[in-house]
Structures are given as C-alpha cells and as structure tokens.
C-alpha cells in the first residue's frame, strides 16, 4: 500500500518498500552483470553477495564439515536478526520482495471493484461510498485472503530446518534445495535469465530484420557489453538454459509466487527454513511487534497481517505479536489498528509463549530431527558407491572437492556455476548419482565444453582461471590458477569406435584432434591403408575386372588402354587417418566431444575413466601425490 493511499502509514513502511525494491534491483543487476563472467574475475563477491551472507548456508556448511570463511558474511545477517527479527525477510530477501510484487499485481482487488461490489450487494454503503470508506475497503482488500487460516502450518518450516540441518550433519547439503537465496540464484540464473536473454535477442533480431534503424547497433552494443550472450560461442540452439532442469526451476518459483493466491507470503510463513532460522535467532530480540492494553480485540491485525504474526491472547487480554513470524514490514503500526495499540517497539526481550500449534512442540522438533537422522543416512546409503570413480557418472567442474562426498557436502545447489559457465557446459544433474546429488553441477559436453581459459585475461597467467570456482559461495568448487586448471582432469576422452567417423565409416574427420586445446595435443592420429568405400561400392564384375587388371599388371604389365582403365577405377585401399586418445595428456575438457560432427551421441566422449597408471585412482592429481588433507580437498595440479 502506497503512502498516498494511506496517510497514516508508518514512515518506515515506505522506507521498507524502497529498500526491498532497491535490493531486488541490485540482485537482478548483479545477476545480469555477472552472468557472463566479465565482471567477476576481479570482484568475485559481486556474484555471491546474497549467497555468502546467508546464515542457513553458514550453519549447513558448518554442520556438514564444509565451512569456509567466505560464509562469515552471514554473521552480519545473524546480528541483524538478533536486533530486528526477520527484518531480513521483510526488507532484504529478494524472494520475499518478489512475492510481495506478485501479490500486489495479481491478487489484490482494486478498491474501486470492491466498492462496486459493496454497492451492488448493498452491504451498508447504501450507494454512497465516501473516500474514507474506500481507503478502509482497500485495506480490507489487501488483507490476507486466507484470513490467516491454518496457523499450525507455520511449524512446518521449523521442522524442515531441523530436518535439513540434521541431514547436513550426515554430509548432504540438501538444505540448498530449500534455501531462498539458492532458489533465486538457481531459478533466475539457470532459467529466467536465459529465457529473458532469448526473448530480448529475438526482439532485437526481428527489429533488425524488419529494418528498424538502430536495432543492429543496439544488438551489437548489448553483446559488446555482455548484456546478451555472445551466441556464436554457444553450440547452435543452446541458450544458457539449464536444459535438464530449467523448466523445473521456473515451475518451483512460480509455485512459490502463485500459492499466494491462497495465502500471502505462504512460502515465508510456512516453508522457508531460512525464515524459521532467523525467527528463532530473533526470539531474543528486544524489538518486536507489541500490542498495548488499548487493544479492543477487534482481531483486524490477526486477520490482515501478511505474516499472520498476531494472535489472540488468553481470554480478555490484548492480542499479541509473534516475534518469530513478524518481518518488520510496518504495515500494522499506525495503519492497521483502530485503537492505535500496535507498535514495533523495544522492550523486554522475554519471549511470550505463542499459542499452541504456532511453534512446534518438543515432540514435533524431536520428530523432525529423527526423520532427518533416518533420511540423511538413507540418502547417503550409496555414498561408498558414489565415491568410487568407476560408478560415479558425474563429470564435476574443475576444482570440485574430492572425493565426491566432500563435494556434495559443500555444494548448496545454487546453480551459480551453471549460470556463469560461459559455454553453457555446466548443468544441474538429476538423480544419476543418487538423490543426494540432485541439482549438483555436472558437465554436458554435447552442449558446451569446459573453456580452457574461461576466467583468464590476455597475457596474464596469474589469478583464478575457473569462473565456477570464483563464484561458488561455499568453496565446493575451488579456485584454480591457470596452470592448475590446465592440468585438472575432469575425465578422460574415449573413442566410441562404432560412431567415430573414421573408425566406424572410413570417412576422414579429425575435428577432435584439430580442436584439442591441450599442448601438446591429447589426440593423435595414425594414417593407415584402409578399405576404400568407393571401391567397395563397385559391382561384383567391376571388382573382378579390377583384380584381374591388378594381377595382370604384377605378372606381365598392362597395355596403355588397360592402365587407363585401371586408373579410372577407384583404388582398393586408401590412406585414412585414425584418431587415438593419449591418456596421459587428456584433461577431459570435452572440446572433442563438443565439436564431434556426428549427430546424436558423439563419436568421442569424456568419461570418468581412470586417468593415471593402472592401479592408481587419482584424478586431478599427478601420480604419487600423497593422500594428505590438502590433496583430499581436491586441489588440482601436482
């Protein structure tokens, strides 16, 4: 509600809306600016501002044994929540702001419509609608549609928080599925932004084709400033969309936004584990919604608050605010209460016990923890199998922690690496590697290849070389220097001789060797005399004639006419270059698989084959590297 429509609104109400919009704008601007990786190499914090300051990620990483100092930014949010409980949700969280915007645009009835209905059904307005009534009606229309039904649903978020953190304790960072910053990064970075990119591109291209002056210039400008993807860098048809899961992320986001048709901020009050955590932290805050003894028990606050943060007190006592639910939006103070009894004020930090069913009971908490304690190990039942290189199909980004269990404990599935990968090679995985691996990054080399120098600058061998490592908020993907990245083994290329053109069909090709970026090349070829397809296509009698002439030439020599006849026939064999992978040089960057001209599955594919000498299982490490803690953490190089 804008201040104009409600002159009694608290000044912080307008300030809150302004801050919300500014922070959402910041999120979107950073998303676009850092999406192509251009602004990131020098200022990596730009890309992980929201994730690195997320207390849920800090807590989860600490419990999963994947703590990194970068996450200590989250302590600022914890400190904020100690003083102002869940102000983060009301003022800063981009997902919260997005919900408010959708609620405002889609679900609030306009005052005029409400007034017309009121007039039509003659409910007390008698055809005369005064301005003050309109304002009251508008407020009523903005009130929660569910009338704050089902308050007991609110404990679900606490249960989810406990469950996810217990699962984290067992080493699966599954809380990343539900973290709001993770949801925003994932759905915007890997779905909404690519769709917007395609739409903007299609518009500019159509304008250019229609001869609109300036359209071509605008396109070039946008590409030169990395606002649009440089489409010749992408394999035809690929548009940064996380092909396997992009639509799922969109649907999840839409569900969170549209379930507000039932209840405003449904996600925040009932499901968000970060919200639950900040509410619990804020339980001791002195600043909270307070209802004075002037309360006339009209119940409007309980009905209208978009978080359902008010509830009736025990009989004949004033209503009271629930500190764990209030997001300090300042819609209630002054504006909502007819008796001016509500204020967000400092005072005793002693928590009032909320009504039954609003916070989970001890039994419910223990139950959630127990479910987590069963689910965690269950999700990780196949951990041993997954950590075996032979049975893990995942091609992890360069710099990913090793063994894979360590990676999964640290990866919060935010999709920041998927978003930033400049060739669209990284994608969220499905459950190929167990349910605990859902949405962790993996390569799809048919779509893009790992760029040998994605973060490097001209003439500069220093600095970090892998964009995915630079933007990873938790260090699940470590930063690599150019030298480390050039040696990091993602996998090993292997020829599928039933598909590779020279091997399978006797056609010349060698595109894989041509584009192999490793120096010296990890693919080489041997030229051998091989059956000539043109000769094989000859009829039986022509083949017979060919053999006859050849035999005659060896035995007694040919006449001039016979020589000419033989020369006109295709030779029986011809030289053909057959490619081979040189195991010790291959780093599994996937360029060969990406550029292979075979339609469908490539004739050469990167797999997690053992890369060192037989019997040595090392990957990303030179032969003989000690299994020290540093090596275990997956640092590349020697």
């Amino acid at each position: 509600m804008t201040p104009e429509s409600n002159p009694r609104a608290h000044p912080l109400h307008a300030a809150r809306i302004a801050v919300q919009l500014a922070v959402l704008l910041l999120f979107l601007v950073l998303l676009v600016l850092t999406a192509r990786g251009t602004a990131v190499a020098d200022r990596p914090w730009l890309a992980k501002l929201f994730l690195a300051s997320d207390p849920l990620l800090l807590a989860g990483a600490a419990l999963a044994g994947a703590f990194t100092v970068a996450l200590l930014w989250a302590l600022a949010v914890v400190a904020l929540s100690l003083l102002a409980p869940r102000a983060y949700c009301g003022w800063l969280c981009p997902l919260g702001t997005l919900q408010d915007i959708v609620d405002r645009l889609l679900f609030r009835r306009r005052p005029s419509t409400v007034a017309l209905w009121a007039m039509a059904d003659g409910s007390g307005y008698g055809g005369q609608v005064r301005r003050r009534d309109l304002s009251a009606i508008a407020r009523r229309a903005a009130a929660d549609r569910s009338k704050n039904a089902a308050p007991h649903l609110r404990q679900v978020k606490v249960g989810l928080l406990v469950l996810m953190l217990v699962v984290a304790l067992f080493g699966a960072a599954a809380y990343g599925w539900l973290d709001p910053n993770s949801i925003m990064t994932r759905s915007f970075g890997a779905a909404i932004l690519p769709m917007a990119d395609s739409a903007a591109r299609a518009g500019l291209v159509a304008a250019e084709r229609a001869g609109v002056p300036g359209a071509a210039g605008a396109y070039d400008w946008a590409v030169a400033h990395h606002l649009l993807a440089q489409d010749t860098d992408l394999k035809e048809g690929s548009r940064y969309l996380a092909v396997t899961w992009g639509w799922t992320f969109t649907v999840v986001l839409l569900a969170i936004l549209l379930v507000q048709g039932y209840q405003r901020r449904f996600w925040c009050r009932n499901l968000c584990p970060l919200g639950a955590m900040l509410g619990l932290v804020g339980s001791v805050s002195p600043l909270r919604p307070r209802v004075s003894s002037a309360c006339v028990r009209c119940g409007r606050c309980a009905e209208e608050c978009k978080m359902g943060a008010f509830e009736p007190g025990p009989a004949e006592t004033p209503y009271r605010g629930v500190v764990q639910e209030c997001i300090l939006c300042y819609a209630c103070a002054r504006a909502m209460c007819p008796a001016d009894a509500i204020g967000i004020r400092f005072g005793s930090p002693r928590p009032l016990a909320p009504a039954r069913g609003v916070c989970p009971s001890r039994r419910a908490m223990l139950g959630s923890a127990a479910v987590g304690a069963v689910l965690g190990p269950a999700m990780l039942l196949d951990r041993r199998a997954r950590e075996k290189r032979e049975s893990n199909p995942m091609l992890r980004p360069p710099g990913a922690l090793e063994p894979d269990g360590d990676f999964q404990a640290a990866c919060v599935r935010c999709g920041a690496c998927v978003r930033i990968c400049p060739t669209n090679a990284l994608h969220p995985s499905g459950v190929e590697n167990g349910i605990a691996g859902l949405w962790t990054p993996t390569f799809i080399f048919a779509i893009g290849a790992c760029d040998y120098r994605c973060a490097a600058k001209a003439g500069d061998a220093g600095g970090s070389a892998n964009l995915c490592g630079i933007v990873c908020p938790t260090g699940a993907i470590q930063k690599l220097t150019q030298t480390e990245k050039a040696e990091w083994r993602i996998g090993t290329a292997v020829f599928d001789r039933s598909r590779c053109l020279p091997w399978a069909r006797g056609e010349e090709c060698l595109v894989c060797e041509e584009q192999c970026p490793v120096a010296p090349k990890a693919i080489s070829h041997e030229t051998v005399e091989t059956a000539n397809n043109d000769w094989l296509a000859l009829d039986e009698d022509q083949r017979y004639r060919y053999e006859q002439l050849q035999a005659k030439r060896t035995a007694e020599g040919l006449t001039r006419e016979e020589e000419a006849e033989l020369a006109a026939m295709p030779p029986k064999t011809r030289p053909l270059a057959l490619p081979h992978v040189l195991r010790d040089r291959c780093i599994g960057c996937g360029v060969c698989e990406n550029v292979c001209p075979v339609d469908g599955p490539s004739g050469i594919r990167v797999e997690r084959l053992q890369t060192g000498a037989t019997g040595w299982g090392g990957r990303g490490k030179g032969q003989g590297a000690g299994p020290g803690p540093r090596a275990r953490r997956g640092r590349g190089g020697k």
């Binding site: 440089q230 010749t232 860098d233 060739t423 760029d451 053109l501 192999c516």
Partner: protein, 328 residues
C-alpha cells in the same frame, strides 16, 4: 484534441507493427536474387585474371607492417592497395582470429599485419573497414587475446564479433562445386565491396597446412565440423564461391607443430615472410611448398596438399610452383 492512448489502441498499434515487421521480413526473403552471378558483392581485383599465377613477396623484413607494404607494392606496383580499394568502399578484412591465444603462439594473424592492412585500406579512401572472424574459441576472448581487436580498432577499423543471425545461407550454384550444396556465410562478407583475406601459416592435422584457402572457413557459420569429411574438396568448393579481392599470408612466423591450435611458443619459428596475391590458390601453392617456408622435414610435399590442386583444377589459380611468377 488528442485522445489518451487506450490499452486497445496500444495493442492494435503493436499488432499492426508486428504484422508490418513480419511482412517486411517476408519481403526481404522473397526478393529475387540479382542474377545467377556470385552471391558475393565483392569485386575481383581488376588484375585478377592477369595475375592469377603471380604473387608479391616480402622476405627478411623484421617489421611485419613494413613486410605488408613491401609485399603489396611488389605485386601491385606503387599504386598498392589503391589498385583494388576505391574511395568510399566497404572493406571486409577477414583475419584468422580463431583461437583465444596470444600473438606469441602464432595461432592467429599478427595484430601488426591486421593493423597495417586496415591503415592502407583507409588511406586508399575506404569508407568503412570491418574486421571480424567467426572464431572457434569464444569470440570475445579470441579477439582480445590475439591483440587483433585493439590493434585493428586503433588503426581505425570497426571490430565486432559475429552474430549468428547475420549468417545467410548461400546456395553453392556453380558447376565446379562438387560437394557443398549450401552454407551460411557472414553478411559482412556478402555485402562488402572488397574482401581481404588475411591468413597465418600453420600446419594442420587434417588439411596438412592452413593458409589462405583454409582461412576462409572463418566466414562460414553452421556446423563447420561437417566440413572435415573430404576436407580438401570442401575447401576447394568454398573457394569457388567465396572469392576474396585480395589475399595476404602472414608467415612472419610459422606454426610448425600442434596445428591449428598450437598453444606453445616453441611450436613457432620465425620466417619473416609476407606473401600476397589475387588468387588464394597461387599464394597457398607457393607457401605450402617446403622449399619456401620452414615446414618440418617430411611433414608434407606440395602434391599432398590436395585442396590446392583441386582449387587449381577449378581454375582458381595455379598449383604448379614452376608457373608461379614471384614479384620480389
């Protein structure tokens, strides 16, 4: 008095504009092609026929820019670039900017060579010089690392990476074409008055060498990996259709191993040579000859580089070293 714009008016306007745009798009696509002649607008060099087996050569110049000037003057006389660039011309300069590597690995044309060609074209009165390549590695990185973007821009050229929607599929209607039916070719190549082909001398794992003829793959869009099945014939076909006004080969340094990507300075040897000509085939025939450039021993002999012979067969130049007239 003006009525306020209603939503209906707005939608109607947008609809009309969209229809107009669609119609305009259709009109563009059904416009008759201008005769069966070359799909390229670029003029051949006025002496193209007379100089079909002639090359200009500069050897031993330590400064690549001086080498460029010398080679062009040897071929064209004192008129130099003015023999093929007229005032106001739109000039497309297509250097090899395929790889995101620095000049020290010699995977791309030297930035000095590109800059000098741009300067000469502008000095001859060219209205606009565009420099571009459909890079193999990510384009903006290739442009940046090669040093070509900065050098060409400083010399006064327009430098932009290619955009996929600006490739136009061209039918390869010519009796000399054997394999390729059609291929997307970059708009700026089709519309330039003058097309200058700037290649770098490297070994290549499949076509043995990559010189001027192979360099023209950088004007192609689509799935270029599908050029590599019978690459020699496909290159000859491409060169039948895409005929540069002028070809210049930067052999100031030659990549002798690991081509075409290379990636190591020790794969590079200095040769201080610039070759130019009106026929890509003739320039390549001279340059591919192991007698003329420091190709590794036993790597190839001229006859093995079949695309040159096939190009000569199609009448694009001469593959016979004894018939090449060297102006040095």
């Amino acid at each position: 008095m003006t009525r306020p714009l209603t939503r209906r008016d707005f939608l109607r306007g947008v609809g009309a504009a969209a229809c107009g745009a669609a119609l305009a798009g259709c009109a563009g696509s059904v416009a008759p092609a201008e005769g069966p002649a070359s799909p390229l607008r670029a003029r051949p060099h006025p002496q193209a026929d007379a100089w079909a087996s002639r090359i200009g050569l500069a050897q031993g110049a330590a400064d690549p820019a001086a080498g460029v000037r010398t080679a062009i003057e040897k071929l064209c006389g004192p008129g130099g670039v003015r023999t093929f660039v007229r005032p106001g011309d739109r000039v497309a300069v297509k250097p090899n900017i395929a790889w995101a590597q620095g000049p020290e690995t010699a995977a791309n044309v030297s930035p000095e060579v590109v800059a000098e060609v741009v300067r000469l074209c502008l000095a001859a009165g060219a209205g606009r010089v565009k420099v571009f390549d459909n890079s193999v590695n990510p384009a903006s990185k290739s442009y940046e690392f090669s040093g070509i973007e900065a050098a060409a821009r400083a010399a006064g050229a327009d430098v932009a990476v290619c955009a996929r929607h600006r490739f136009r599929t061209i039918r390869f209607d010519d009796p000399r074409v054997r394999n390729l039916a059609e291929w997307p070719i970059y708009e700026d190549v089709l519309e330039a008055d003058v097309l200058v082909n700037l290649a770098v001398a490297k070994v290549h794992n499949l076509s043995l060498v990559t010189l001027c003829m192979k360099n023209l793959m950088g004007v192609q869009g689509g799935d270029r990996a599908k050029m590599h099945q019978d690459i020699h014939q496909n290159l000859a076909d491409l060169n039948v259709i895409v005929r540069p006004t002028f070809n210049l080969l930067d052999a100031t340094r030659v990549m002798i191993s690991g081509g075409p990507t290379g990636g190591r300075p020790d794969y590079v040897v200095r040769a201080d040579t610039i070759v130019c000509g009106t026929s890509a085939v003739t320039v390549d025939a001279w340059a591919a000859d192991p007698a003329n450039l420091p190709w590794p021993k036993g790597h190839h002999d001229l006859a093995a580089v079949r695309h040159i012979a096939l190009g000569a067969e199609a009448g694009l130049g001469t593959a016979d070293p004894s018939r090449i007239e060297v102006a040095a």
